[in-house]
């Protein structure tokens, strides 16, 4: 039996995901967000026949206790309790704005794009329900410039408008192709007509966001789960996952052999059943490029849950899990990605645009043969200097990623000081966008 439905770049996942012996609530199994039939986009008719009509609750606020009982947390990476965000915006009561965040700036993550391509109607259902819950009449879906996807979404929105499904019209809004474009306050800036650069908080976007209005920002996957919880209830949702971290989530898996899949899995799944942890894998990156490396043997003891990953220095985040093959240089890979992260700085905050490039340069030094011994000490000093001193968490996440590399690839660093490397050719493995343009328009 295939574990969850995958959106394969190749023929499909080979990994048999153990289901566990726990009793499953009827219909609470996986897949939930994707159709069992595979990676084919679900049109409106199919969506309505599978899921029943959009269950409007009739009044603002009604969905909040349901979501609280379900324990749904954000699937965009921060895992913030959904009911609390909704309550905060609903309380603000002054012309709130609701935005579905599909700007998946993380190069290693495909799940939002896949979800929007295959199950847009679940996301759009979620948007309408969220809008009803906070009493909003302004709804938008923020997605990267991808003509095919945007056209598909516009068509879906038009179809729903014709069927009089949506009470509030949905505007599709362009997100610039930047790593930080999906950050909450950067999103609010962009939709307010400015470049997509993060802002200082306070105020947070739920207080003052788009055009100064209270703004509810939810990842598109969160909205999809919300749409299902509204139909089937909190108990159904808790039929998967763990008691503290209930439900299912989408993960982007990068295997050591180069395959890249999006799978839906439940929280609490052992990492070893998601990524291959055999002798061909030396480490696993969990949480994306703001996450942390785990040594393969450690990863083998952990499950996909913050309860396991946080103490190990990592976190679930947006579900990116990347296995590093044993024959690649972890430091070189980290240096490559850190250089990308440094260049993705918005350039607003002194500590960030001064510190991250220096850290990246130092890592590049460490990744080369017989590196300057001061590079690591300098890097650690700069890491300490940038943490917490930006308007957003870009420096913090980058430092977390770099620190974990220094820990997990310590042996590799030692080899480098002797002029050796597990992969002198330093072949790239982790995905990065080909674009390196510094065009100001890229932020608009």
């Amino acid at each position: 039996m295939t574990p969850g439905t995958t959106v394969p770049q190749s023929a499909g996942s080979r990994w048999d995901q153990p289901r566990g012996q726990r009793h499953q609530h009827p219909g609470s199994g996986l897949p939930r967000l994707f159709p069992a039939s595979g990676a084919v986009p679900v049109d409106l008719r199919t969506h309505l026949s599978r899921f029943t009509a959009l269950p409007y609750l009739g009044q603002p606020g009604r969905l909040i206790p349901v979501l609280k009982a379900a324990g749904l947390t954000g699937r965009g990476g921060a895992a913030f309790p959904v009911h609390r965000k909704l309550a905060a915006v609903a309380d603000a009561a002054t012309r709130p704005v609701v935005i579905g965040n599909g700007a998946e700036g993380e190069p290693a993550s495909d799940k939002d794009k896949s979800l929007l391509w295959i199950s847009p109607h679940l996301v759009l259902d979620g948007l309408q329900l969220a809008a009803e819950t906070v009493g909003s009449a302004a709804v938008g879906l923020y997605v990267h410039r991808n003509d095919r996807l945007q056209d598909q979404l516009r068509a879906a929105v038009a179809e729903r408008a014709e069927a009089r499904l949506d009470r509030i019209p949905v505007e599709i809004i362009d997100a610039p192709p930047r790593f930080l474009a999906g950050e909450e306050s950067a999103l609010a800036s962009r939709i307010s007509g400015e470049p997509a650069m993060p802002r200082f908080k306070p105020p947070r976007v739920f207080e003052r966001g788009v055009a100064g209005r209270p703004t509810l920002v939810h990842n598109v996957e969160t909205l999809a789960h919300l749409a299902l919880i509204a139909r089937y209830g909190p108990d159904w949702f808790r039929g998967a996952g763990t008691a503290d971290e209930p439900g299912s989530m989408l993960c982007t898996l990068h295997q050591a052999d180069g395959r890249r899949d999006v799978v839906e899995t439940q929280l609490g799944t052992p990492l070893g059943s998601l990524v291959q942890l055999g002798p061909g894998t030396q480490a696993v990156l969990s949480g994306g490029y703001h996450g942390a490396w785990l040594a393969a043997e450690d990863a083998g003891q952990l499950t996909l849950s913050n309860a396991d990953l946080r103490p190990a220095g990592s976190f679930v985040g947006a579900g990116v899990l990347a296995a590093l093959p044993a024959d690649r240089c972890g430091i070189a890979e980290t240096a490559r990605v850190t250089r990308y992260l440094a260049l993705e700085s918005a350039g607003q905050c002194g500590p960030c645009f001064n510190g991250l490039p220096r850290i990246a340069a130092a890592l590049g030094e460490v990744a080369s043969p017989r590196p300057d011994p001061r590079a690591v000490t300098d890097m650690m000093r700069w890491a300490g200097l940038v943490e917490g001193r930006g308007a957003c968490h870009h420096p913090d996440g980058t430092v977390r990623f770099v620190r974990s590399a220094l820990q997990v690839f310590g042996e590799e660093i030692r080899l480098h000081t002797q002029g050796r490397c597990v992969d002198p050719a330093r072949r790239p493995f982790l995905p990065l966008p080909a674009r390196t343009a510094m065009d100001p328009a890229d932020w608009n």
């Binding site: 650069m197 250089r339 440094a342 260049l343 993705e344 700085s345 918005a346 350039g347 607003q348 002194g350 960030c352 645009f353 001064n354 991250l356 490039p357 220096r358 990246a360 340069a361 130092a362 590049g364 030094e365 300057d372 001061r374 590079a375 300098d378 890097m379 510094m438 065009d439 100001p440 890229d442 932020w443």
Partner: protein, 218 residues
């Protein structure tokens, strides 16, 4: 002095305070550029530059007030009260005095907006503050043609010194504005600065060109 046959104490006071106002305004403009470029007055902490810029601008307003009031009070030439703030409405030398009114209006606007800086958007305040150059420039032209005082002698050299100071400082200021790296390019510029061969920087003292690493990258 030639040309003035019936000068009064008030008229002299107006001319004198006019000259001082011009000097103060010139100082304020120069200090403003120094603040912007994060420069220092040698031997003094940075807050002195900002403080002096603010205090001199307030002092300048005081001197301009005396300059204007004595000019009105003086009966030799007839200048209406309203002409102080409504440009080009005076019956005596409307154009040149008008420019004085323009300068005063601008200076008042700059000071009021700066006092209320916290209540407006940064961009709006900055945009308005650029008018300080116009305020100084119109004061200069006003000073040159409202009387012949600045056409010879010490006052001529003083005036030239003011113009040169602002012109040179202005070029320095604009040159830097031209070289300033926009936000989107700063990280790349820093990375460029750290290119291989230089090695990781250890801090202020070992930076190559600027006194502070990344000083150009602000």
């Amino acid at each position: 002095m030639n040309g003035i046959t019936q000068s009064t104490a008030l008229w002299y006071a107006s001319r004198a305070t006019g000259v001082v106002s011009l000097l103060l305004l010139t100082g304020v403009v120069l200090l403003g550029m120094l603040v912007n470029r994060q420069g220092r007055l040698p031997g003094f902490p940075r807050f002195v530059v900002t403080g002096l810029h603010r205090n001199l601008s307030l002092l300048a307003v005081a001197f301009v007030a005396v300059h204007v009031i004595t000019a009105i009070a003086d009966s030799y030439v007839s200048i209406q009260l309203a002409a102080i703030v409504i440009p080009f409405t005076s019956s005596y030398k409307p154009v040149w005095l008008g420019l004085g009114a323009v300068s005063l209006d601008l200076v008042l606007a700059l000071i009021v907006t700066s006092l209320l800086r916290a209540r407006m958007s940064r961009r709006v305040w900055r945009g308005l503050h650029w008018f300080s150059y116009a305020a100084w420039g119109s004061a200069v032209v006003h000073s040159l043609y409202s009387s012949t005082d600045l056409h010879h002698g010490v006052l001529l050299y003083t005036a030239i010194a003011c113009w040169l100071a602002v012109a040179i400082a202005g070029c320095w200021r604009m040159a830097h504005a031209g070289r300033e790296i926009p936000r989107e390019g700063r990280a790349a510029a820093t990375l460029e600065m750290m290119s291989p061969g230089r090695g990781p920087r250890r801090g202020r003292r070992e930076a190559p060109a600027a006194q502070r690493p990344g000083a150009d990258i602000r």
